[in-house]
């Protein structure tokens, strides 16, 4: 495990004494909601990116908005940094605490406040689990579309903070497309309403800025999500390919023929085997790649699209199987959704990447990943959202072997660099957090990074919310030493090289 602390240029210094701050918190929170002892703090050391950790200074567990406002106001006055935490499933270390900061845990905000069937919305507290929303809406024939594979555990507040995606976002969009209104508390402790229950709102699109802001702009204390009618029919095709290039072309072929599948997911052989061993989804273990292609809508529409999709897939050399029952469909998806833990069973540790690329470069990038895998001597299993080019290479390593984590990190960084090179991005849905903060330096110019800081200060003038995450300082970039040519210019030329 690597202990994380913010870069020297990102650290917030303060002189506040722990006892004094807890005394202030005791005036607003019951004792059990304030954690300060080592053994109480350990469970909060890390999030889903468990290779990195830091023991928090103080953990607080408020259960109402007033408490959140007061906690933030106190921290604002005292100059103490604050990190928000939902369910802690994040994969980029966004919720890793600070050793001189307050970890604000939203787990107690776990109520669904209202489901408004006629307007097809649900008003929920931020700690509500993603899947719980759909479970509560099912009696109205509705569901919440974004379905990250972590949906049984992750919180909707965390989903908003990361702009989480899922296996159905090609057709139904990301979190940003599926929320209408947020209530947030600013670092000063002020409660604000962002967005509205209409389809748009007046002023700037602050809802877009909040979505994916990784706890850096404000604390989300209430979320209104859109609900969609459960489609009348859904069918999934499992297509097995003897090689990856054909599979990539088949994906382009489907889109080119005017189909937008609800889900279009790809897994390579290593991932297929791991998933099959784990959940017995019925995957062909000898296939080089499989594609899961789901179509949903009215029964007639699905029947037409299924026929079309099947023909296209076969024309690219796939062996095709259609799930014959709902149970079989669920099983096919279970394999995909359990792919990460399945890989977790075959390797002591794995490191999940999240680059997104223009799909036409799929074959090239996968070849590049395979070459890097050979170069570093580490196995890489690939699971990805093929429809939207979001790759999840899983790098297998063993943290107990000296230097292997560092090797995995370097391999990961090289993969991200490759993604940016072909016109993609370092993160499609998992966020930057601490994990990819250095790589931000090669995706953005110093002016763009400055602009991100300016956006942050528009919300949080003292920079106390989640410092050291998501947006690097230019000093960090200079030290990281990435001299990538960006838009034809050398970035950060004004900074001295270390």
């Amino acid at each position: 495990m690597i202990t994380i602390s913010p870069h020297a240029s990102e650290k917030i210094h303060h002189q506040v004494i722990k006892k004094k701050l807890t005394k202030l918190f005791r005036q607003i929170l019951p004792d059990p909601s304030i954690l300060t002892e080592q053994e109480q703090l350990v469970p909060y050391q890390c999030d889903g990116l468990s290779a990195y950790q830091c023991t928090p200074w103080i953990v607080v567990l408020p259960n109402n908005i007033k408490q959140v406002q007061k906690i933030l106001h106190i921290c604002y006055e005292q100059g103490v940094p604050v990190v928000a935490r939902g369910a802690g499933t994040g994969l980029s270390g966004g919720a890793i605490p600070l050793n001189n900061g307050v970890l604000l845990v939203l787990a107690k905000f776990n109520e669904i406040l209202q489901i408004d069937k006629k307007n097809r919305i649900a008003i929920v507290q931020p700690g509500v689990r993603n899947l719980a929303i759909s479970q509560a809406a099912v009696k109205h024939g509705l569901y919440y579309a974004p379905d990250p594979s972590s949906q049984i555990a992750c919180s909707i507040g965390g989903n908003v903070a990361e702009n989480a995606g899922g296996v159905h976002c090609l057709k139904y969009g990301l979190t940003t497309h599926n929320i209408l209104r947020l209530k947030i508390v600013t670092m000063q402790g002020e409660l604000l309403t962002i967005g509205s229950h209409a389809l748009d709102c007046s002023g700037y699109d602050l809802l877009a800025l909040m979505t994916g802001s990784e706890g850096m702009l404000g604390i989300i204390v209430e979320v209104t999500v859109k609900l969609l009618p459960i489609p009348e029919a859904a069918q999934v095709i499992l297509a097995a390919f003897p090689d990856i290039a054909n599979a990539g072309e088949a994906v382009a072929g489907i889109i080119a023929k005017g189909l937008i599948p609800a889900g279009l997911e790809m897994m390579d052989n290593a991932a297929i085997r791991a998933a099959e061993d784990f959940v017995h989804a019925g995957y062909p273990v000898d296939a080089e790649v499989i594609l899961l292609c789901e179509l949903d809508g009215t029964a007639d529409q699905v029947a037409d699209e299924l026929k079309k999709a099947r023909e296209i897939l076969e024309s690219f050399g796939a062996k095709v199987r259609v799930a014959l029952s709902e149970a079989e469909r669920q099983k096919m998806w279970a394999g995909r959704k359990a792919a990460f833990p399945a890989v977790g069973r075959i390797s002591p540790d794995y490191y999940c990447m999240d680059g997104t690329i223009p799909r036409r470069h799929l074959a090239k990038v996968l070849q590049g990943i395979s070459d890097l895998s050979t170069k570093y001597g580490l196995v890489v299993a690939n699971v990805f959202h093929a429809g939207d080019g979001n790759l999840h290479p899983l790098i297998l390593y063993n943290a107990e072997n000296f230097g292997e984590l560092e090797k995995a990190e370097q391999l990961g960084s090289d993969i991200l660099e490759l993604s940016v090179e072909v016109g993609g991005t370092i993160t499609g849905e998992h966020g930057v957090g601490v994990e990819k903060i250095n790589q931000m330096c090669f995706q953005f110019s110093s002016e763009e990074i400055d602009c991100f800081h300016a956006v942050k200060y528009a919300f949080d003038e003292k920079g106390l919310l989640n410092p050291g995450k998501a947006v690097p300082t230019l000093n960090r970039c200079a030290e990281f030493g990435k001299l990538h040519v960006h838009h034809g210019k050398l970035p950060h030329k004004e900074l001295e090289r270390f």
Binding site: C169, L199, D205, G428, V432, V455
Partner: protein
């Protein structure tokens, strides 16, 4: 399609304006100049910067310069069987892509496929300091950095001049038909809510003068079975009807009165005011022609959990957008200062205080 890269020229103009602290009124096709607070500054024409930068149909992405003609862009997409699924209004043949995104307008398909901001993937902008910055990109998913691209949609050019825009596009529906029903207003609101709860093939849903119009999109077979399913009469000139709605060419929109755009939760109750209503977006977008006081309309919109915009026929320097709460307004002002410290880009176009 012809193409012209005028980035250096526009950048030089903005840098000069920044140095001299002289305000600019950004214009392109002038098709939507009626929208926003009416301001007087020196104009900067950005329509000279046009052309397609990148288009890969199988990636579902198009990137074009902001001065690109909206009609030309849509024609190019249609040749590949694709469309801008937010169905933007043009309001004149001169409409450009940049103006469309800066206004953030979306047409009748919006509740069913998404809005202009939903399809925004990335952009290149020129800030009020004359810097050229890029955000987002040409991929469907991108969470590196704050979502500045979507922040630009509907910002009316007050945060930056759009130079290049990348949008997600969607396939054109195989078949499209409209059916209609004769209903009372109350019944219509309820029927629209019911239809939308069923997740049918609906791609347009509006109500005017006792008639509920339902547009269906999908495969031919699916559309036919949907017509049988829902009933109603088949509308003859379906395409023209939705185009006239989108372009505000229907009878309803021919008015000298103030035309308000009121955005509310779709099933919001009918409000009795002295004026006439047109319901689009399955009830979520309501146009109101009225002589009521502005304050009264803003109040009413707020009480229904929505917001109002005085869309057409506003007076000089009149406030047209729903007032913001104090805290939210402060963030707006901070953002404005961050992107445009000298306050030279369309100052006072949105709100009178910046």
């Amino acid at each position: 399609m012809n193409s012209s890269n005028q980035e250096p020229t526009i950048q030089a103009s903005v840098k000069e304006a920044y140095e001299e602290k002289s305000a600019l009124r950004i214009i392109a096709g002038n098709s939507k100049s009626f929208y926003g607070r009416q301001i007087q500054q020196q104009s900067l024409d950005v329509s000279i910067h046009h052309g397609i930068v990148n288009y890969h149909p199988s990636e579902l992405v198009v990137t074009a310069r902001s001065g690109t003609s909206l009609t030309e862009l849509q024609t190019l997409l249609a040749e590949q069987g694709q469309m801008l699924a937010f169905e933007p209004p043009h309001f004149s043949e001169t409409a450009t892509l940049g103006g469309t995104i800066a206004c953030g307008f979306s047409g009748p398909r919006r509740p069913f496929t998404g809005s202009a901001r939903d399809f925004m993937l990335g952009c290149k902008i020129l800030t009020g300091r004359g810097e050229i910055l890029s955000f987002g990109g040409e991929v469907m998913k991108n969470v590196a950095g704050y979502d500045v691209s979507r922040l630009m949609v509907g910002a009316l050019g007050t945060l930056g001049i759009l130079l290049e825009i990348s949008l997600k596009v969607l396939p054109l529906p195989e078949c499209e038909t409209t059916i209609f029903f004769q209903l009372e207003e109350q019944q219509a609101i309820e029927t629209m809510a019911d239809f939308q709860l069923q997740g049918r093939l609906i791609s347009g849903l509006c109500f005017d003068e006792g008639i509920l119009y339902v547009r269906l999109s999908g495969s031919e077979k699916a559309v036919i079975s949907e017509i049988n399913n829902l009933g109603g009469e088949k509308l003859k000139n379906s395409k023209a009807f939705w185009q006239n709605l989108r372009e505000q060419q229907l009878e309803f929109f021919q008015t000298q009165k103030k035309l308000w755009r009121i955005s509310v939760p779709p099933a919001a109750p009918i409000v009795n005011v002295d004026g006439e209503w047109f319901y689009d977006w399955g009830g979520a977008l309501r146009w109101l022609k009225t002589n009521c006081d502005d304050a009264e309309v803003f109040d009413m919109a707020q009480q229904t959990n929505g917001h109002a915009v005085l869309f057409r026929n506003s007076g000089i320097a009149e406030d047209i957008f729903q007032p913001l709460s104090a805290g939210v307004r402060l963030i707006h002002q901070n953002l404005k200062r961050a992107f445009d410290p000298a306050n030279i880009l369309n100052p006072n176009k949105m709100y009178s205080d910046w």
